[in-house]
């Protein structure tokens, strides 16, 4: 029976399900503890098997891209926190990098070291969150509690640096606002040891050989390399299908070309392989962080790029030099005016390729800003990989895609 849109079935009015057979349509979300935010799925079931899945998005649409058109470049930066709110700094950074490329400036060495540190720290925060929620969805509550324990230590480090736990705004266009506080590096080193220890002795010890965990993850959510490429998957979703693609290696930005790290790849193509991949990536992140610590000591203390046309001078100069004060006044009241042009810069966020496209007309406001968020593509993939699976595996598959609705709906 073809569904006819009417007042009695307002929620299905855009959907057409062929319901000649004995299938049942059920609604999943948007308020569901395993929906990772506000995902709504309309599932057509044949018994316990999913025949058709329809992800419905837009429940967290906040008009962020439109807001960017009415805000100066510096004003918009805190808004990017709210895209992928689990790893805020990776959004701040992707946006700042795109604007820097538009302006044609480069952050000084110390700022680059701090930024790379924050990016990798955010990767660990995000991956810990992934393993926490994924394990909770599948039923391993204690892993959730353990992973959040370590995540709090990482949040402490972020808080020591920028003062915020969740919405960091820790990166500025042209550099970073602050130097690392005293003792931060030592805390970071201790945290790295802790993460390495916990990954091996807590999460992997609890999960990797756990019979239930393996039964629920192995051969669930299988994505072939071809499918992953066709659906625009990036990040762990693509690497979990055996494609060795990481923007940190393909198009190195920041200090990644100088750092020695591996790109973990899994050929299993299933949720279990992806879980192993996430664990491995956390180890690589601590490896990167350890390499960055001596680099920080060697760098000199400049934090913001020197570009008087776009970026205010340091505070001492503003207070002592007339010209610096005038520049600062113009930049604060009017905003920086980048040259005309358009730019797209991809970065490897914890979830995949996060890039900002900015079109500038030479005004203090972007003419158009587009955010290419990895989770959006992974949500689209759900309609492909959920078909044929059982209803109990749906939350496992949503968990393994690691989607965040802030950046899906924007």
């Amino acid at each position: 029976m073809q569904q006819v849109p009417n007042k009695l079935t307002p929620f299905f009015e855009n959907l057409n399900f062929e319901r000649d057979d004995n299938t049942m349509v059920i609604n999943f979300g948007p308020q569901h503890p395993s929906a990772h935010g506000q995902l709504r799925l309309v599932l057509e079931l044949d018994g316990e098997q999913v025949v058709k899945a329809y992800p419905d998005i837009g429940y967290l649409h906040r008009g962020i891209e439109k807001m960017a058109e009415n805000m100066t470049y510096n004003e918009f930066l805190p808004t990017t926190d709210r895209l992928d709110y689990i790893a805020s700094t990776s959004n701040n950074y992707a946006y700042a990098l795109a604007v820097e490329k538009l302006l044609g400036i480069e952050a000084p060495r110390r700022a680059q070291v701090i930024r790379t540190m924050l990016l990798e720290l955010n990767r660990i925060i995000s991956h810990l969150f992934f393993i926490a929620t994924h394990a909770l969805d599948v039923g391993a509550m204690s892993v959730f509690l353990y992973a959040f324990r370590e995540r709090e230590y990482a949040m402490d480090l972020m808080e020591d640096y920028c003062g915020a736990r969740l919405t960091h705004s820790a990166v500025r266009i042209g550099g970073v606002p602050l130097d690392l506080p005293k003792g931060w590096i030592e805390n970071l080193a201790a945290f790295c040891d802790k993460v390495d220890h916990e990954v091996e002795h807590t999460y992997e010890a609890l999960l990797s050989q756990n019979r239930i965990w393996r039964m629920r993850l192995e051969d669930v959510g299988v994505i072939s390399a071809e499918d992953a490429l066709n659906w625009g998957c990036t990040g762990p979703m693509l690497r979990g299908s055996g494609v060795k693609y990481d923007i940190r290696k393909e198009e190195p930005y920041e200090l990644y070309s100088e750092l020695d790290f591996d790109i973990p790849v899994s050929d299993r193509c299933d949720s279990y392989g992806r879980y192993r991949l996430y664990m491995q990536e956390m180890r690589e992140s601590t490896k990167i962080l350890r390499q960055l610590m001596p680099m920080y000591a060697k760098s000199d203390s400049q934090l913001m790029a020197h570009a008087p046309q776009y970026i205010s001078a340091p505070k001492e100069q503003i207070m002592t030099q007339n010209y610096a004060l005038m520049q600062h006044f113009v930049l604060v009241t009017q905003g920086m005016r980048p040259p005309k042009g358009e730019v797209y810069v991809p970065t490897e966020s914890p979830k995949g390729e996060l890039g900002f496209y900015i079109k500038s007309e030479g005004e203090p406001y972007a003419y158009r800003l587009k955010c290419r968020a990895p989770s959006f593509f992974h949500t689209g993939l759900l309609q492909e990989i959920l078909v044929g699976t059982y209803i109990a595996d749906v939350v496992t598959i949503i968990g393994t895609t690691n989607i965040v609705f802030g950046e899906v709906d924007r």
């Binding site: 503890p33 429940y59 906040r62 439109k66 709210r82 709110y85 689990i86 324990r149 995540r151 709090e152």
Partner: protein
């Protein structure tokens, strides 16, 4: 004769003050507040963090429930979009009385930084709110403090549910409204 006839069912007022019963009922209600897992955006992450190992919400008798039928408190954590507002109202209606609402974060309070075409400018336009919790995003400690404030509020309320029905306030006049 019966000058002070009281209709116990409709006028909500019992002729005697049940102070001890009030205390007992409110002790039970305020110490077993079960919130609905209603994470909408960034604040949901802090809501999860407050339920976790370091902040440990369970010690306050606060256990998150996934179903509105089992929940007493709705913590609206995050930006409420216009598309979602209908669901928020429906979930609130599905909760059993007595029920309370905590609006968590700037977005839920006033729309916050998202003054756009897509967002509801404050959840109090959709459902009645008991506690407004400022911050973007509020720290887990502040959510726990909000919960303590709510407990305080509940302890002051009457155990008789009819008196506390918030949405009925607007329809009442005269003696009933003064009672409340």
């Amino acid at each position: 004769m019966a000058q002070h006839q009281v209709n116990y069912a409709s006028t909500a007022g019992l002729p005697i003050a049940l102070t001890s019963v009030d205390k007992l009922v409110n002790w039970g209600r305020s110490n077993s507040l079960w919130p609905l897992t209603y994470g909408l955006a960034c604040c949901a992450i802090e809501m999860m963090a407050s339920g976790d190992s370091r902040y440990d919400f369970d010690r306050m008798g606060t256990i998150f429930r996934a179903s509105p039928r089992q929940a007493d408190v709705m913590i609206l954590a995050g930006t409420l979009s216009k598309k979602h507002s209908e669901f928020a109202r429906r979930l609130y209606d599905q909760m059993t009385e007595p029920k309370w609402v905590i609006s968590m974060g700037s977005c839920a309070n006033t729309g916050g930084m998202f003054n756009t075409y897509a967002t509801v400018q404050g959840v109090d336009r959709i459902i009645p709110v008991d506690i407004y919790l400022p911050g973007c995003a509020p720290r887990p400690e502040t959510l726990q403090y909000a919960m303590m404030m709510l407990q305080k509020k509940i302890r002051k309320e009457s155990a008789n549910m009819n008196k506390n029905t918030k949405q009925d306030l607007t329809h009442q006049t005269g003696k009933r409204a003064r009672l409340i």
